[in-house]
């Protein structure tokens, strides 16, 4: 007992000093390892954003010169002829977006309202799960699905089939955004409307949905931005069209499809057009994403 006390108060013994040194060394080693790992994470972040930066640089360099007024207003020219544009593809993409929104928005918003109002019913849990799964399915499968139902029976490709395939892709995206946005509306607003004598359906549509509408529109825009760049489903449905066509029953051109077709040709003029189209498509998608992000952030900061 006494010796122990003496040891503690006196100078450290050799063994104690060794232990202390080892501890210090191991702490230093742990610190260094921690520093290395943190450094690696910075590197991972830098490496992850590198491709995007490279892509943007190449798009601007290789596509920038061909993006001009003619690109938006003129029709494609045959290979060997310089210039021309993708007016038909741009209009085609807009038409396809219109059809797919007509399919995807009502269904998605309706299903999202159901999920937000009936949170825990078996149907709600199933729908929520399957919507997420559906969201992850390859877009090419949507093409096959629409081809089997809308192209094969009538024996011709059509804008309608393309819009339906893209609309089916929109449904799960819009469903989940709508659910999230409607859930953000405080329950007290719903109660206030009910207490004023609003029926349930009017409360849901003219108070709750209207309050959530900004967020839902943002989500719908993001969904449209995503499907605007889809190519694979259109190979089986809209097919593409090198002429001017706005008929819903005929094959129709689309910007991503045209980019693909031109990019895999050996003609320099067409490849240049493909780069220009790629730049325009990416610009559209980025502007929508950026706008959605700004709107969402403003909403949340204002709401708090």
């Amino acid at each position: 007992m006494t010796t122990a006390t003496k040891d503690w108060s006196g100078a450290p013994s050799g063994r104690q000093r060794a232990v202390a040194e080892r501890t210090v060394r191991s702490i230093r080693r742990r610190r260094i390892r921690s520093g290395i790992m943190v450094g690696l994470m910075y590197a991972a972040a830098a490496l992850a954003i590198l491709p995007l930066i490279l892509i943007i640089i190449h798009l601007l360099r290789l596509g920038g010169s061909a993006v001009n007024w003619a690109f938006f207003t003129q029709m494609p020219r045959p290979p060997g002829e310089h210039g021309g544009g993708m007016a038909n593809a741009i209009v085609g993409t807009l038409i396809l977006l219109g059809i797919s929104s007509a399919v995807g928005l009502p269904v998605g918003i309706g299903a999202g309202l159901y999920l937000a109002e009936k949170r825990v019913t078996p149907l709600a849990t199933t729908v929520r799960f399957l919507a997420d799964v559906l969201n992850g399915l390859p877009s090419i499968v949507m093409g096959i699905f629409a081809w089997e139902l809308l192209v094969k029976p009538v024996n011709h490709f059509s804008a309608l089939a393309g819009g339906a395939a893209l609309g089916a892709m929109m449904i799960p995206m819009v469903t989940r955004t709508t659910e999230e946005m409607v859930r953000l509306v405080p329950i007290s607003l719903r109660e206030a409307a009910l207490a004023l004598g609003y029926s349930r359906w009017r409360t849901s549509l003219s108070i709750v949905l209207r309050t959530a509408l900004g967020g839902i529109v943002t989500g719908a825009l993001v969904a449209m931005a995503r499907i605007a760049g889809e190519t694979a489903p259109l190979l089986f449905t809209a097919l593409g069209n090198s002429f001017w066509s706005t008929s819903l029953k005929a094959p129709i051109a689309a910007l991503p499809l045209q980019i693909f077709t031109y990019a895999i040709t050996p003609y320099d003029d067409w490849v240049a057009q493909a780069w220009a189209g790629a730049l325009v498509l990416v610009a559209i998608v980025f502007v929508i994403s950026l706008a959605a992000r700004i709107v969402t952030r403003r909403r949340f900061s204002a709401g708090d």
Binding site: A44, I49, V133, L137, E230, F260, V282, R293
Partner: protein, 334 residues
């Protein structure tokens, strides 16, 4: 109380003389709103039901289209590597092999990067850097597939062929392994895997960030209080807590990679062959369908392509369902 009472007394005369406005007779029933409620309830149930119905219809439609080929070739459809439109014999093994190899390659490259980015963003990034980096990574997911294809064809593949592949094979002497041997084709399994890695990275990192955010502060603080370094906190406290969610995120990335079509079609070389080398061209299920659909020679060829689609649908459905289940499990533990 006195203040009110005084005012009350002063006002009493006025209030008594002012007649209360007669209220119109009220109705006690409201059929319209009850019908409206019923219509509304059934409508949203209907819309919600369309989601499972849609999924079911997809399975049925693709299954029906695939049926002739599946019936003709049976199980050998997925084991045979003979894809011969002239002889009308179709086996999808090379495409299935290519899909798996390119996706696994993509995951091997993307997973460490995605986890690094996610941990960086949720634990280490200074606030001013967090938003821009997070947004940029999210934008990677917004870039359309065909853009990755164009960029890959004209920028990535030439660099791979002239620099990266020779460097790996000769300078690093990895050529002794079959994986890195042989002629450095540009369009190859390697190029496809690399572009897939870029494409599925944002999905893995987004889900990982989500589950990391669900790790309670107390987990981190407890580890810090025990004297753990920043890295040890992540390794010992945060990652184990979020593990199943992270695995779910990786599987979601896998789901994306398995079904990715355009970029792969443009980069993989499209050859029906199971080659040992990653530098050789190959095929994936999705690129096979996209590439041969327009030139299918006859109904059986077409049906064989649809059968490939059916296999792809089945695999991605299972992978996505398992992934979602894992992510939900983690998020629910919150």
């Amino acid at each position: 109380m006195t203040e009110f009472a005084a005012r009350d007394a002063a006002r009493a005369g006025v209030a008594a003389s002012a007649p209360t406005p007669a209220r119109p007779s009220r109705s006690w029933t409201e059929i319209g709103s009850e019908i409206g409620d019923r219509v509304y309830s059934w409508s949203i149930v209907g819309f919600a039901s369309l989601v499972p119905i849609l999924l079911l219809t997809i399975f049925v439609a693709v299954g029906v289209a695939a049926w002739p080929a599946l019936r003709t070739f049976g199980f050998s459809f997925v084991t045979s590597s003979d894809w011969d439109p002239v002889a009308q014999h179709f086996g999808a093994a090379p495409a299935i092999y290519g899909t798996l190899v390119s996706s696994i390659l993509a995951l091997i490259i993307a997973t460490p990067l995605a986890l690094g980015v996610a941990v960086f963003l949720s634990e280490f990034a200074p606030p001013w850097l967090r938003q821009p980096v997070a947004f940029t990574v999210d934008l990677l997911a917004a870039v359309p597939s065909v853009i990755y294809g164009v960029w890959g064809m004209y920028v990535l593949v030439p660099v791979l062929r002239t620099h990266v592949m020779p460097f790996l094979r000769d300078t690093l002497h990895l050529g002794v392994l079959p994986l890195f041997s042989g002629v450095a084709y540009g369009p190859s399994m390697f190029a496809a895997g690399l572009i897939l890695a870029i494409m599925c990275l944002p999905y893995i990192s987004a889900v990982t960030r989500e589950v990391l955010a669900a790790v309670p502060r107390s987990q981190r603080e407890a580890a810090l209080a025990l004297g753990a370094t920043r890295w040890e906190v992540i390794r010992d406290a945060v990652i184990p807590y979020a593990r199943s969610g992270i695995i779910g995120g990786i599987m979601l990335g896998l789901g994306r990679a398995l079904g990715e079509t355009m970029a792969v079609t443009m980069l993989i070389g499209n050859r029906h062959e199971i080659a040992a080398s990653l530098f050789a061209p190959g095929y994936t299920m999705a690129s096979l369908i996209a590439n041969e659909f327009s030139e299918a020679t006859g109904d059986l060829h077409l049906s064989a392509l649809m059968a490939v689609g059916f296999v792809l649908l089945l695999v991605t459905f299972l992978v996505n369902a398992a992934a979602r289940w894992l992510v939900w499990q983690t998020a629910r533990e919150r």
